[in-house]
């Protein structure tokens, strides 16, 4: 669905699109009760309890006062409803605040202050510095003469650096007054949630001369919830408003995750339900038979001679009601309660506070703590997760000469410094590429120091390194770039930027030397994206070797290259590029194709090597968790060699004699297939040997393997405890998570960047590292932690305790209900199978609400083993992984226990007042106190 937006036209587009009214509310005042009730009753448990409660209203069959079910039921409903209502009210308040915020909007040619909710598509919105953007705008004017403005997008994608936004070429140079009267049409796609993409066109209407279609990209937009920074004012045309903004579209309630424990509890509840039905049918039938044979003789019962049609159902229904307490009504609420407490424990934990930034860990999803203890696979990102993501320029190879190999730091290499002072052209050019070919924005701080704002850590490292080597990027002003080199200022005009994409794996800039007027193309990128395009005469052997050598040291490499471009060639290409940039369909692909036409015959200048240090405690953490039986997979976008080196240095895989690394590669289907089968064969043989076997696969082979040999790859995945997947895309990461999940493994995905978000959302548990690549991953994740090493504590301490406690609490809830229910059943055998309740309503309520639910809360702070012991012997986690504490057999144990306890309590209570002298009330009280003592004893015994 395409949109045509008429700029500044108050009539046409008024009602076509929604107003800028935010609404995140789930309910309105009117529909709250019915909608909320409907939602609650769509759960099976609640339907069951409602049915029971309704049956209890029929006094003929109810064994106890209906209040004993209605009370808790209404209470539970009220609690959930109140929580929902409170959340919804808060959403309403925040919506209201956003909606009533006042903004300057041009209406009928006059700038007016109106409420944010009255903004319409096509309106021109004016913003001042530090204003929040109220809706998605296409920029048409800024205070900057070059048409640049800066925005902070932290609320949108979590990235804290400032981003530059440009006004479209067509609006360039328009003055303040003119902007009020501007008319035009913006053609753009319908609302979507891709915050990195906006493919539109702008055409200004006749009075405004320019008749050309002007392409619009995401660079020309400022999106809702961003902040305008370092720019006096800016104005833009509203294109998406209200809930149709990019942010509004991305918003949405994620699917609730169900933990293994929850699934097991549901299963057990089902089993108990079946058991209950069986009991009801057996006792009901027996009761009816007894009634017909025996009760008729019992004159004092005075059974009527004639009875209604439903008579046969009465006794079974009575038993159904008697047995309904088998399924504890409170289990869901109490589990929710303790789970949120576990989550709070994670938030509170002092040992999981990032010492550098003082950020505590946070559990966004409060419902899945116990799943942490049952993780079998951890899929981890490399950069920023295992490593610090703090890039430092370490070595380089310029024109075949290696710098920094001796000192380990190229910046101190005397040879390099000498080469700079002597003005070696290769070295100078190399440094120029480092300083120019990037998207870093230099900004002057008040103190006068230059600080760089970069989206890519690598670029920042390169620019810093260049600055240290006297090639200082001083200023970047729209298209003019200033560099200070040895006291002289060089100026370049940036003609085009060929942006980095994960497919192209390189970026280039076309610059014009303002001094000489020469145009040149400067490129940097991954080796396989640069070296094949080297011009025919150049030997790339040394560079290949350099890349090899560096990546074996675990360094990240980039190749730098350049070439001169003739004026004509540039002009010709520039037209094609413009056209490609303004296409609406497949724009990215078209641009990549056009870029390709310029990026060839490159002169490779050299290779840079950037170090990304491992985070503290990563090897130990991996080793500990490995001992706990957790398998690790590393999924990285990095090169194979770098990935393997990092893997080696962090205990991920063992070095040669002990470990074996099998690699799956190949470019064609056949090659991949053969390689896969070979690896699989080796894997099958070595499973019996105590050898660490891991496999390495790259993105390309993975693509083929997942597409054509899924079965073989799945088998491999099951056999292999360790895997390294390099050069994988975000969607492949997510696919791998899916693959492991489909084999019934519990997966945990941990990552820090935007490219990990999909895998984090797919996995059973997503953990985000609130790191330097912004908060995107941390926001999408269920848990966010500051450092990778906290994962150990998160799983071994919090996960394990939560699992143990939940396992105990859930089974205990069933135990105590079954205990009292069994006594009722036994009693029915001595009360003529007529469905008499031994206990009265008050006792039952007190038992459920007071005696049994409060003492057991102690177990939520119970620790069976000290934290130190668990950390020392991570093998203890095997127990949780295998679900040893909550499975049908442990449950059978609890079932047996309640049966045994019920027998003991029952026998004692009917005999303690010499059998014949027992009175109902006495027996009931004795049995009740017996139950209370027994369950208290169980709690005391089970809590350590």
């Amino acid at each position: 669905m395409k949109r045509y937006i008429y700029i500044n036209d108050d009539e046409t587009s008024q009602d076509l699109y929604c107003a800028n009214r935010l609404s995140n509310r789930k309910y309105t005042l009117m529909n709250f009760l019915p909608k909320n009730l409907w939602e609650q009753f769509s759960r099976f448990m609640n339907q069951y309890f409602l049915l029971i409660a309704c049956l209890q209203l029929w006094s003929l069959i109810t064994p106890v006062n209906p209040a004993s079910t209605w009370g808790p039921l209404i209470f539970i409903f009220a609690v959930s409803a109140t929580k929902e209502a409170w959340d919804d009210y808060n959403r309403y308040l925040s919506d209201k605040k956003a909606n009533e915020k006042e903004v300057w909007v041009v209406k009928q040619g006059i700038k007016k202050l109106i409420q944010s909710q009255d903004i319409r598509v096509g309106n021109i919105v004016w913003l001042r510095e530090n204003d929040e953007v109220p809706c998605d705008l296409v920029l048409i004017g800024t205070s900057d003469p070059q048409g640049v403005c800066y925005v902070e997008t932290a609320a949108l994608d979590g990235e804290t650096d400032l981003k530059t936004r440009l006004i479209p070429a067509a609006c360039m140079g328009m003055d303040f007054e003119l902007l009020h009267k501007i008319k035009g049409v913006i053609e753009c796609p319908g609302p979507d949630k891709d915050i990195r993409r906006f493919d539109g066109n702008l055409r200004l209407l006749p009075p405004f001369i320019d008749n050309d279609v002007c392409p619009l990209t995401i660079k020309n937009t400022i999106l809702q919830s961003c902040y305008l920074r370092n720019t006096e004012w800016a104005c833009g045309v509203a294109v998406y408003t209200g809930n149709e903004t990019k942010l509004g579209m991305t918003r949405g309630i994620p699917e609730p995750k169900l933990t293994a424990v929850d699934a097991m509890i549901d299963k057990l509840t089902g089993a108990i339900f079946v058991f209950q039905i069986v009991v009801v049918i057996v006792l009901g039938t027996a009761g009816n038979v007894w009634k017909d044979t025996e009760a008729r003789k019992q004159w004092y019962v005075l059974y009527p001679q004639e009875f209604p049609w439903y008579e046969l159902l009465v006794i079974p229904l009575r038993f159904e009601l008697l047995c309904s307490i088998m399924i504890p009504i409170s289990i869901k609420v109490s589990l929710d309660l303790v789970k949120s407490l576990y989550a709070k424990f994670i938030d509170w934990d002092y040992e999981m506070i990032d010492p550098e930034t003082d950020t505590p860990s946070h559990a966004t999803n409060t419902a899945i703590s116990e799943d942490l203890a049952q993780v079998e696979y951890i899929l981890t990102d490399k950069t920023g997760t295992l490593t610090e993501n703090r890039m430092i320029f370490r070595r380089c190879c310029i024109g075949g000469i290696f710098y920094g190999n001796e000192t380990g730091d190229a910046l101190k290499d005397v040879g390099l410094l000498n080469a700079i002072t002597s003005g070696s052209p290769d070295v100078i050019r190399f440094l120029t590429v480092m300083a120019v070919c990037n998207t870093v924005i230099p900004a002057k701080s008040k103190a006068g120091a230059i600080l760089y704002k970069a989206q890519s850590q690598d670029e920042e490292a390169l620019v810093h390194a260049a600055a240290q080597l006297h090639m200082v990027l001083v200023n970047k002003n729209a298209s003019i770039l200033e560099i200070k080199f040895n006291g002289s200022v060089l100026q370049y005009e940036i003609l085009e930027t060929l942006e980095f994409t994960s497919d192209r794996k390189r970026m280039s800039v076309v610059v014009k030397d303002c001094h000489s007027g020469n145009i040149s193309l400067l490129s940097k990128g991954a080796d396989e994206a640069i070296l094949p395009y080297a011009h025919a005469g150049q030997q790339t052997r040394t560079f290949v070797e350099a890349v090899e050598q560096y990546s074996q040291l675990g360094l990240r490499t980039l190749c730098l290259a350049w070439r001169e471009v003739e004026e004509d060639e540039y002009q010709e290409w520039s037209l094609m590029f413009k056209e490609a940039s303004s296409t609406l369909i497949d724009r990215e692909w078209r641009i990549a194709e056009v870029c390709q036409r310029l990026e060839h015959d490159l002169k490779v200048l050299g290779v840079t090597a950037i170090e990304d240090r491992l985070q503290d405690g990563v090897p130990e953490t991996i080793e500990t968790l490995r001992k706990a039986g957790i398998n690790f997979w590393m999924l990285t976008g990095d090169k194979q060699n770098t990935a393997i080196q990092i893997a080696l240095s962090c205990n991920f895989i063992s070095p040669e004699p002990k470990g074996q690394l099998l690699s799956i590669d190949g470019k064609t289907e056949d090659e991949v297939c053969r390689s896969l089968e070979r690896v699989l064969l080796t894997m099958r043989i070595t499973t019996s040997e105590p050898k660490d076997v891991a496999f390495v696969v790259d993105g390309w082979a993975l693509e083929i393997a997942l597409k054509h040999y899924r079965k073989a790859f799945t088998e491999l995945a099951i056999l292999s405890r360790t895997a390294i997947c390099c050069r994988v895309t975000p969607s492949q990461k997510a696919q791998l998570v899916e693959l492991l999940k489909s084999c019934d493994y519990r997966t945990l995905a941990i990552g820090d960047g935007g490219n990990d978000v999909r895998m984090i959302q797919k996995a059973d548990i997503g953990v985000g590292i609130s790191g330097r690549e912004g908060l995107q991953a941390a926001r999408a994740a269920d848990y966010s932690i500051g450092k990778f090493r906290f994962l150990k504590r998160l799983i071994l301490v919090h996960g394990r305790y939560s699992y143990n406690r939940t396992a105990f609490l859930s089974q205990y809830s069933f135990y105590k209900s079954l205990l009292i229910c069994f006594i009722q059943i036994f009693f029915s055998f001595i009360s003529g199978l007529s469905g008499t309740s031994l206990f009265n309503s008050v006792s039952l309520m007190a038992y459920n609400v007071f005696y049994t639910s409060i003492p057991v809360l102690v177990s939520t702070i119970d620790k069976d083993l000290s934290e130190g012991t668990v950390m020392q012997h991570p093998q203890i986690l095997f127990y949780c992984q295998a679900g040893r504490l909550l499975n049908p057999s442990t449950f059978a144990g609890w079932f047996g226990r309640s049966l045994f306890h019920a027998i003991v309590a029952f026998v004692i209570s009917i005999h303690v007042y010499a059998y014949e002298k027992s009175e109902m009330e006495e027996v009931s009280m004795v049995a009740l106190s017996g139950c209370i003592w027994l369950q208290a004893f169980v709690v005391a015994l089970e809590t350590k």
């Binding site: 509170w348 003082d358 303690v912």
Partner: protein
């Protein structure tokens, strides 16, 4: 290294100064408050169940339980209990083929029994009647009463839950209503020893709390047993419910189909070999459901009536504890193992498998 420091500090420093909300003050607030609870560091103690501890505990329990068991068993043995089953014997031989017809007829049902006292019985001697196969705990029965009506005069017409014995056919409320009251036991006993009447004290046989709080002093029976179907005993309409102790006792429903209810107390000692003549009115129909009727004379001990169960239970548990203590000791002596030996851990026993 130096360079990296320089690089990072050059970014970090101005960064903090330049951004609109410096993170410094936010830091302190982000850090949660410390408490032992939030850090899960609450003090706790956990006894380690070492073999010695376990054996000792079992021994102590055994030592405590066995004497308790013995004393309670002795107390129970002290109690003298005489049971006389009479439901068949009190039907004339001629009528034994159709007992139900006899019991429902108007024939005289007086019957005499002789009881020999087997052992000296100290006063007070409690007189009980015991019914068998009588389901006072049947659901239809146990609920068929109205506690409000029994308590307050103003609630006389409150007869809910009492069906089918709630009102007379012409709509007058029955007080006390319900099946329980309607089926009140109506056999009577008179005792004599050596031709001299033994008085049976029928005061104070019901619970004091029942008399004072559950059955009203101003509530008098009315319309009781006036219907076509006569259940059990009639009540004197001039005596308030709180004084009708037989009714009060009867209305404390029994938990089991075999139950014993207090009939009265004989306030004199009975000597060994005393012959007691009982004249009983065998009115109550247990024949339709072949229930037994028994007359019980019993003394009490400090533990109450005759009840071997408690003593036996204590002895069993105590004995079991001794046995366990003994067997653990043997196991401990024969096959000692070091406490906390890691080689017993599952992953150490069979490496790899879990």
């Amino acid at each position: 290294m130096m360079n990296s420091n320089a690089a990072s500090s050059s970014t970090a420093n101005p960064d903090a100064a330049g951004s609109p909300d410096p993170p410094a003050p936010r830091r302190s607030s982000k850090r949660p408050k410390y408490s032992k609870f939030t850090q899960q560091e609450l003090p706790a103690c956990k006894p380690i169940l070492t073999p010695k501890w376990v054996i000792l505990t079992f021994l102590v329990v055994g030592i405590a339980f066995v004497p308790i068991g013995i004393t309670s068993l002795l107390a129970s043995r002290d109690v003298v209990e005489i049971v006389d089953r009479y439901e068949t014997d009190c039907i004339p031989v001629a009528n034994r083929t159709d007992k139900v017809a006899f019991i429902q007829s108007n024939a005289s049902k007086t019957c005499t029994r002789q009881i020999t006292v087997t052992k000296h019985m100290k006063r007070p001697v409690y007189v009980y009647y015991q019914l068998d196969n009588f389901y006072q705990n049947h659901r239809r029965y146990v609920k068929s009463r109205n506690d409000e009506q029994l308590k307050k005069r103003s609630k006389t017409s409150e007869t809910s839950q009492c069906e089918p014995e709630d009102t007379t056919p012409d709509g007058k409320p029955i007080v006390p209503c319900g099946l329980i009251a309607w089926s009140l036991f109506n056999d009577t006993y008179t005792f004599s020893r050596n031709k001299r009447q033994l008085t049976v004290n029928k005061n104070g046989i019901a619970w004091k709390s029942d008399r004072d709080h559950k059955f009203g002093k101003e509530v008098f029976p009315s319309n009781f047993q006036n219907g076509t179907l006569i259940g059990g005993a009639h009540l004197d309409e001039s005596i308030p419910l709180s004084k009708q102790e037989d009714l009060i006792v009867w209305m404390r429903t029994a938990a089991l189909p075999t139950f014993r209810k207090l009939y009265g107390k004989i306030e004199v000692d009975l000597e060994e070999n005393d012959i007691i003549d009982v004249i009983l009115e065998n009115n109550y129909n247990t024949y339709s459901f072949s229930g037994k009727k028994k007359l019980v004379l019993s003394t009490t001990s400090w533990l109450g009536g005759k009840n071997d169960f408690l003593g036996i239970a204590y002895l069993t548990v105590g004995g079991l504890c001794f046995f366990l203590a003994l067997s653990f000791t043997i196991v401990y002596l024969v096959k000692p193992r070091r406490l906390g030996d890691p080689s017993y851990l599952s992953w150490n026993r069979n490496p790899g498998g879990h």
